[in-house]
Amino acid sequence: MRLLPPLGLLIFLAVWEAVPRLGLVNPAFLPPPSVLPAAFLREFTSGEWLAAIWNSLGHYTLGLATGTLLGIALGIVTGMYRPMERLTSWVVRVLRPVPGLAWVPFAIIWFGVAPSAAVFIIAIGVFWIVYFAAHGAISSVDRDLIEVADAFGFRSGPERLIKVLLPAATPGLLVGVRTAIGQAWMAVVAAEIFGVAGLGQRMMQASSLLATDIVVVYMLTMAGLYGLLDTVFVALQGRLLQWKA
């Protein structure tokens, strides 16, 4: 059991190595993993790598936190109060499908070419995912349990929220947050297309020079950072949901 995750990764890497080597894909577009350490070393020694990570991590963390908190807050409000859900339902439908890229002009107008603009784009990238997860989780909490809170006098919204809704919705909320943790990395790339330095910008630059190996190095960097965070998250989730085990 403990060896399965690395085993899976190994199989994956083997296939990846084979594909360009067997000529199934031009190595210019999919460099085999074996050439990556050299590319990484170049980036690392030039200092670009650390700087890019450092910048992006900042945007990532703030954007993820903002988007997640807002998504949870609004999802809870509309999940708890039917009139709020109705009032927002059409507006949500208008704003929901607006792609991250379309927000870029607004980000520039409101925040200028500044890291906060990138944070904004990332926050929007995760907001909806968390919003719908929170809304869905809150509104499908077992009514029997809500009645328990009611019967013991926790009838105001906040009380009900803290005593029952939030803990009962935690599994669903965490699914949303976990999805957001991944989505935010995707959004980092989109968020850095306007003058904000970081991983995404470096990747774009490498991509425009067809330096695919460097692109992949940064992709794996993101994967590594994401993997770390996701592992921590899964452990946390296990603790929060130990009552399920």
Binding site: I108, V113, I193, F194, G195, Q201, M204, Q205, L209, L210
Partner: protein
């Protein structure tokens, strides 16, 4: 004889106008060539499309092609369409300092003195042609102090938007955006044309895959012929050319008048002659290596095939 279909990949910019004009005038069809267009947002995506064999003709910047050749993608530049596309525009905040008779370096210096921070100029990421030409203009042509100007790299759309809202103090744009932004905000000024930034700076080219060249060299000739005629038409009858370009590019997004203005603006310099950019391309690469945007120069030998252009102009 059934017409040959050329699958053409284009970036929808004004510099691609000669191809659209040649097509819409019917010159290509007369030579037995049907066309199918695929629009892209960037050059690298088009390289991938070349590699996957989904396009035959490439109408976009020359820079990615040199790199692509080193990665085993056999492609030849047979004509140019425009040169010196990029221009430097500045927003009103910075334009104040570009008074007549004040050198750009001095204007930047005064701006910094007045505001306390360097002027931010938006362009595309390091390694791109706009970035290199902007740097060339700043550091080599105008000898601006590096403390007085900062380069901010972003996408093309974002650059235009940032300039329009004044999120940056200036940047590089090309037609028709130059015309559009100066129309929207007359305070935005063009302070350097492409020729000043980097003489003969290479712009959009027409390139064809080796396979297409081998099988249909007569059709390639037809394309180059068309491009040569189209460049001439833009010079002689811009209004007529504008109708075609508006149809192909804007499809109702921008009005014909704006396109017409852009076609004859000083920022537009159409030419089909590939010879004009060979040396400039090499020079640009040398400069990019110098500023560290490129590891090394990609060899250009075999990239250009001028014979079609020579034949087109001889007849």
């Amino acid at each position: 004889q059934a017409p040959v279909t050329a699958r053409i990949g284009v970036i929808p910019i004004l510099a691609a106008a000669p191809v659209f004009i040649a097509d819409r005038e019917g010159w290509l069809k007369d030579s037995g060539l049907a066309t199918r267009y695929t629009t892209f947002e960037s050059g690298p995506n088009m390289i991938q499309a070349l590699a996957s064999g989904t396009i035959d003709v490439y109408v976009a910047g020359v820079a990615p092609l040199a790199v692509a050749r080193t990665r085993g993608i056999d492609i030849k530049v047979v004509a140019s369409t425009a040169v010196e596309e990029m221009t430097v525009v500045v927003t009103p905040k910075l334009a104040r300092f570009f008074e007549p008779g004040v050198a750009p370096a001095e204007a930047f210096k005064r701006y910094r003195a007045a505001t306390g921070s360097p002027a931010r100029l938006a362009t595309q990421p390091a390694g791109s042609v706009p970035n290199a030409t902007l740097q060339h203009w700043l550091w080599e042509v105008t000898k601006t102090d590096r403390a007085d100007a900062a380069i901010i790299a972003m996408g093309i759309d974002a650059t235009q938007q940032a300039i329009l809202v004044g999120a940056v103090e200036g940047g590089t744009v090309r037609e028709p955006a130059v015309t559009i932004v100066t129309q929207r905000d007359p305070g935005i000024k063009v302070v350097a044309l492409g020729g000043v930034m980097f003489p003969d700076q290479p712009g959009t080219v027409i390139a064809v895959t080796a396979a297409f060249l081998r099988d249909h060299s007569d059709k390639v000739q037809a394309i180059v012929n068309g491009a040569v005629r189209a460049v001439r038409l833009i010079g002689t009858d811009p209004a007529r050319a504008a109708v075609h370009v508006e149809q192909a590019l804007g499809k109702g997004i921008v009005d014909g008048a704006t396109i017409g203005k852009a076609l004859v603006s000083p920022s537009s310099k159409f030419t089909a002659d590939p010879r004009r950019i060979i040396e400039a391309t090499a020079a640009l690469q040398r400069y990019q290596v110098k500023i560290g945007a490129l590891d090394r120069e990609a060899p250009l030998d075999g990239l250009f095939d001028t014979s079609f252009f020579l034949r087109a102009t001889a007849s």
